[in-house]
């Protein structure tokens, strides 16, 4: 059933996605470049509205109207540039080669059909020859996620809890053995313990099958637990991307620093947790030029008003900030800013 046994790499280049609004077409992604290394789990974090889902949809060429890709490409190994695919070619990639767990996975099921019938629809759509084996795989996956597979397959959506539906969504994304899996906030409807269990299973399956995985999440804790690398988004840009331990241990971008300080669990003491001042920009309030983070930035300088910082390599990560020098000397950066 597998098409290629190796995990694909993904290269997003200069991707710009705009949404049509009454004020014209405004960019939700402004020239985003992001590489997912084969076989890794990447966490995509950032405040609400930063463009995480838009980027996730772009991996399937599925940005919904009134949005559209206006520039850039999304290369996936073994598939090519998905942003050039259309029609049946695109359909066959979706589900079969790229598994997708919808942000609102609780509502991702047809209310009029049992889960089992929807599973068969999925199998038939992708010409799966051995449907009984597909059902067995589905049951096994559901079982691993702590559900009674047989019962769930016989159920309608309304007979399942929000968390059960979310796990069904994950099962449907994994059951066809896709080698690239995109999970958009896959555990939001789950309690902490179930959430941890599900993420561990996603991680297990990821390792067993040799997948490349992108997990979109609000939750830095989730990202810390399961990811190999973290990409931080702000205002339609990836402002910092690097190995998880490095990004969380010594964040370089002032936004990442603020984000981590705002989380009591990671900064250790609830008294020390400080909310980031100000609010993230919306499409309409995004500054037309300069750094999109400058209004909230403690390290703002003159150049930030006029030049949008390009991401540059800093050690093993990429950071987009005028206050960060390409050299890994964070002490000097601080001094300069003061």
């Amino acid at each position: 059933m597998t098409e290629s046994s190796s995990a694909p790499g993904v290269r997003v280049r200069d991707l710009t996605v705009v949404y049509k609004t009454p004020a014209g077409e405004l960019p939700a992604l402004a020239g985003v470049s992001l590489t997912l290394a084969p076989g890794t789990i990447t966490g995509l974090v950032g405040e609400s509205g930063s463009g995480k889902s838009t980027l996730a949809f772009s991996l399937l060429n599925a940005v919904q109207p009134p949005g559209r890709r206006s520039a850039g490409s999304v290369e996936i190994d073994g598939i090519g540039d998905v942003s050039q695919l259309a029609g049946d070619d695109l359909r066959r990639v979706r589900g079969r080669q790229v598994g997708y767990v919808f942000q609102a996975a609780q509502n991702s099921l047809n209310p009029l059909k049992t889960i089992g019938k929807q599973l068969l629809d999925l199998g038939r759509s992708h010409e799966v020859a051995d449907l009984p084996a597909l059902v067995r795989d589905a049951r096994a996956l559901l079982g691993r996620m702590g559900l009674d597979g047989g019962r769930v397959l016989d159920s309608y959506q309304h007979e399942l809890s929000g968390g059960m539906r979310q796990r069904v969504g994950i099962m449907l994304a994994l059951v066809l053995n896709a080698h690239l899996v995109v999970l958009d906030e896959p555990t939001t409807a789950l309690d902490m313990i179930t959430q941890a269990t599900i993420l561990r299973i996603v991680q297990e399956v990821h390792r067993e099958r040799g997948l490349t995985t992108l997990i979109v999440t609000h939750d830095m804790g989730v990202a810390a637990e399961v990811t190999d690398s973290i990409a931080v988004m702000y205002g339609g840009r990836v402002v910092e991307h690097g190995p998880t331990t490095a990004v969380l241990g010594s964040p370089r971008h002032p936004y990442t620093q603020g984000l981590i300080r705002a989380i009591p669990r990671l900064s250790g003491d609830i008294a020390e947790a400080r909310a980031l001042p100000g609010r993230p920009p919306t499409l309409g309030t995004m500054p037309a030029q300069g750094c999109v983070f400058r209004e909230r930035c403690p390290e703002r300088r003159e150049i930030c008003d006029s030049v949008d910082p390009a991401p540059v390599a800093v050690g093993d990560r990429r950071v987009a900030c005028h206050a960060v020098e390409p050299a890994p000397a964070s002490a000097r950066v601080r001094k300069e800013c003061a």
Binding site: A62, V93, Y100, S108, P111, L112, S125, H126
Partner: protein, 334 residues
């Protein structure tokens, strides 16, 4: 299954209540309209020299209840007659039971109304899906506009237009009546052809009158479902177009069954105009004639049958709903 039975029981109870209300109202009307027709008939018979008890029996036979005794006794007698399907005697066609008249008229209404409704439902629903999916296309626009226009035209105007077009401008169909009397009734080709020819215009009128509403309702329902997350999710799982379409159509058609039940009820009312225009001997024409002749027993009976038809249509639509929607079938919350 249990919930279906429980729903059915609920419907039957509500339907019975509705029928009871209608019969009671028609009883009260017949008893209280100025110049009480029952009393008048009774007195007319007395004047004609009939003995009081004989006149009483004759009047009772006519209306299905006794003009004498307390109002309550008369009411009970009337209901008792109804339970035995005794609707009284027609006044305008003396000596004929109301039930017989209604029985022979019913088929001329039920078949064209059902045929026309199903035709417009199927057509409107199919084209409505198309109009919703091709929202920005020219044909999609044209369909939606045709729906809005037709929806705004009253049924009897459509009837008159259809009549003008197909019997005068382009006379290919008969203008009225149920069938040409020159053919022998029975299962023979000329008779059936004549039947179909005569039914075409009424059915076409029902269909055109309903079509606009269906296309608009289906279009908006499809647009709603298209915006639902599960359709996008199904698309992102790479489901085939045909399967996606079935997901969409089945979910979108669901709310229309409720409207279907209501519209069937409305159509039986609309039959009054259509059957008058086409001189078609159904319940609507029977009702109009009974009003003209002040034939109150016939009026009451016709009301009753129309009410029963509405109740039955409602139950049928609801059962259909339950077959399609598992949330209803198992009694779960949506």
């Amino acid at each position: 299954m249990k919930t279906v039975v429980r729903r059915l029981a609920g419907h039957l109870a509500r339907g019975a209540a509705m029928i009871w209300v209608v019969t009671t109202i028609s009883f009260v009307i017949i008893r209280t309209i100025p110049g009480d027709p029952v009393r008048a008939q009774y007195e007319k018979l007395i004047e004609q020299g009939m003995a009081p008890d004989q006149a009483e029996r004759a009047t009772a036979a006519l209306y299905g209840f006794l003009p004498k005794g307390s109002l309550w006794d008369q009411y009970v007698g009337y209901l008792n007659g109804l339970i035995h399907l005794d609707l009284g005697q027609s006044l305008s066609t003396p000596g004929t039971p109301v039930a017989t008249l209604i029985g022979s008229a019913a088929k001329w209404t039920i078949l064209p109304v059902l045929g026309g409704t199903l035709l417009s439902f199927l057509l409107g629903v199919t084209l409505g899906v198309y109009a919703a999916i091709k929202r920005s296309g020219r044909l999609g626009d044209a369909l939606a506009i045709s729906g809005s226009l037709l929806h705004g035209v009253p049924q009897y105007v459509i009837g008159l237009l259809v009549m003008a077009v197909f019997t005068t401008l382009w006379p290919i169909l008969p203008a009225g009546g149920p069938v040409d009397i020159m053919y022998d009734p029975g299962f023979n080709a000329p008779y059936i052809v004549s039947l179909v020819e005569h039914a075409t215009l009424p059915v076409l009128t029902y269909a055109l009158a309903g079509y606009g509403g269906w296309i608009l309702a289906m279009k908006s329902s499809v647009a709603t479902v298209l915006g639902d997350d599960f359709i996008l999710a199904a698309e992102l799982r790479g489901l085939r177009r045909g399967i996606l379409f079935r997901y969409l159509a089945r979910n979108a058609i669901l709310p229309l069954f409720t409207i279907l039940a209501l519209s069937l009820g409305m159509l039986f009312g609309g039959a009054i105009f259509i059957e008058t225009i086409f001189n078609y001997p159904g319940l609507g024409l029977l009702l109009v004639n009974s009003i003209g002749a002040r034939d109150y027993a016939l009026m009451g009976g016709t009301f009753l049958v129309i009410t029963v038809a509405v109740v039955v249509a409602n139950i049928a639509a609801d059962l259909l709903y339950a077959v399609i929607d598992p949330r209803v079938r198992t009694g779960g919350a949506a």
